[in-house]
Symmetry: C2
Subunit: 244 residues, 2 copies
Amino acid sequence: MPERGTYVVTTLLDVNEVQNVDDRGESRTYLVADVASRKAIIIDSIIENVERDLTLVKELNLILAFAVETHIHADHITGASLIKDRTGVPIVYGGGAEAVVTGADLFLHDGKDLTFGATSIRALATPGHTDSCTSYWLPRGVFTGDTMFIRGNGRTDLQGGSSKKLFESVRAKLFTLPDETVVYPGHDYNGRVASTIGEEKRFNPRLNLSIDLDTFVDMMNKRRAPLPEKIDIAVPANMKAGRV
Amino acid sequence: MPERGTYVVTTLLDVNEVQNVDDRGESRTYLVADVASRKAIIIDSIIENVERDLTLVKELNLILAFAVETHIHADHITGASLIKDRTGVPIVYGGGAEAVVTGADLFLHDGKDLTFGATSIRALATPGHTDSCTSYWLPRGVFTGDTMFIRGNGRTDLQGGSSKKLFESVRAKLFTLPDETVVYPGHDYNGRVASTIGEEKRFNPRLNLSIDLDTFVDMMNKRRAPLPEKIDIAVPANMKAGRV
């Protein structure tokens, strides 16, 4: 289990996208601060929101330690490289992204910890939405990226996605965490901010414990969604850690 | 100080409004649950989101005790009466609304507590955005409605609003709470979910401690904003606790 520092999670909503309802991503960025040391990490920043995010870091008197990514996003460009340019902090991707991402400083492989002050996050390799998706766990909370949403999950038809892998990632890596663990997703389309592992085990319509692999794969195979509007610019940029 | 039960605040974003960017209200609803008893209150529900909210109450196995309003909203219709129809819970407005609101079951006057399980909220009369605005304080948190936002405040040019009263409400009622008190606003337009009293004392651009009453009033007098799109249906409906 990662170290038990006292930490505070600040949820930041994407305000850029609301100018365009058709491309509404409802993306979520998280600022996780270790209280004692004031060291902090930012997870899944968005390039257009970096100014707001760094203003908040400064106002809260935090020392930014890492810019962390759950995966190679297809719907927005990460702010990681811009944050690095502005602050010098290292960029961290999950271990699965090592073969495909340039511009990152550290790849956190499955089971490895990243420490800031007395708090650590642990990488959980959770492929399925993309082949290199990583969730980050810390005591009482987990950042699930697009692997698992509140009552939903990320699409599995792009970027090396696999419904079988996603199902197995959720069951083996996320649903083995304590039920009271808070779930902080990469997006939410229904106005929720957080959930818990226990809630998702019971109420996630595609992933709850009563559903088996074949049923899940079948549900995902029947799902049709348009391509993310920004995919052709976002994926190449994010494979360079958001360097545009 | 209100009783110190262990409580959990769930922030719920308005998902109805995103269909119409021009009328983007970024309204916030809060579900506050007393952990031991599972009794809960919902603050500033929105009529279009009631189904979602009650589903969550059910899933979380909560016992809804009260539907609480911070003020007579001009931008959306409260879900209070629909929730009462569906669950039977009493509707609570702040004491200042007693002369103008029908359909409420209880008016919580300044300094009075409302108890659910081992948790209580205390009404703080904070007129200024409207003449009957009430904030609700519980240990470590305060629901400020439209009196104070994160780095902002509600308009003061409608519904008996008064810049002088708002300034005095913030200084006398909100800024006297402990600095670490979490601020849960009625809206946020910049993707923030919560702030603290200490942050707002320092960084609120119109209300921080370096600004005096005359300067604040002058800033508000110079502010121009269009009427809320739904004002002509929302205010009359909300004066009947959302009965439409």
